[in-house]
């Protein structure tokens, strides 16, 4: 499991509001059939897990066939959160 999954989970566990925004090839493990249970586990741990709509479309991944706890969202969400002052880390 990638180290930033742990970071996101720990931050959420410490009471922080955490969003993991998947973009580019990062959306591939968001597919319902992907063997990547870590993302759904993050969602269950309270992390908001979003997948970029454009990146999904580029890869012919249907937004209504994502793994449990993951939902499609526009990239605007990132700009919204930056404008709101949320700390942002690119991984």
């Amino acid at each position: 499991m990638p180290s930033y999954y742990d970071l996101a989970k720990d931050l959420a566990g410490a009471g922080n509001e955490v969003t993991l925004f998947l973009v580019q090839n990062g959306v591939i493990p968001a597919r319902a059939g992907a063997k990547a249970p870590g993302l759904s586990a993050l969602a269950e741990a309270g992390v908001e897990v979003l997948a970029d709509e454009f990146s999904l479309r580029e890869r012919a991944i249907s937004a209504n066939r994502l793994a449990s706890g993951i939902r499609a969202a526009p990239l605007d969400v990132v700009v919204d959160q930056l404008a709101d002052g949320r700390k942002a880390m690119w991984h």
Partner: protein, 137 residues
């Protein structure tokens, strides 16, 4: 920080190399269309994005002339973002790291791009509501 939002993006990828450049352009596009003031600090290969001497080319393999090929040029995307910012009541301040420019011989940038130093990233971040660093791998 009240009033108009100011965001800073630090980017490092050269043209045509990574989807990160596309994502960075998309983020900047969203921000400037909202009328935000946007700073871009281009470091390392990203200083080549607004290089004025980029040229569209024909594609001999497919037998297409340059016009038919309609080759996308990052300098045109940067120019479009600068124009979009102004149209929407904001400003796009694109700062190219001068050291990186000199190393790569790409001093001829399009209008609206200025030369700076890594210290400018700190200054831009200090004056912003938020900063996103999109690093290379």
């Amino acid at each position: 920080m009240a009033g108009k939002k100011t965001l800073t993006f630090a980017i490092m990828d050269p043209p045509y190399e990574s989807g990160r450049s596309t994502t960075a352009f998309r983020l900047i596009d969203i921000a400037v269309k909202r009328g935000y003031d946007v700073n871009v600090f281009a470091y390392e290969g990203a200083v080549c994005l607004p290089f004025a001497k980029q040229q569209a080319h024909p594609n001999a393999v497919h037998g297409r002339e340059a016009e038919e090929e309609n080759h996308p040029l990052p300098k045109d995307w940067v120019a479009a973002l600068i124009k979009s910012a102004a149209t929407n009541g904001g400003k796009l301040d694109w700062v190219n790291c001068g050291l990186c420019v000199d190393e790569r011989g790409v001093a001829e940038a399009i209008e609206g791009v200025r030369r700076g130093t890594p210290a400018d990233l700190w200054k831009l971040a200090e004056g912003s509501d938020n900063t996103l660093v999109i690093g290379t791998r």
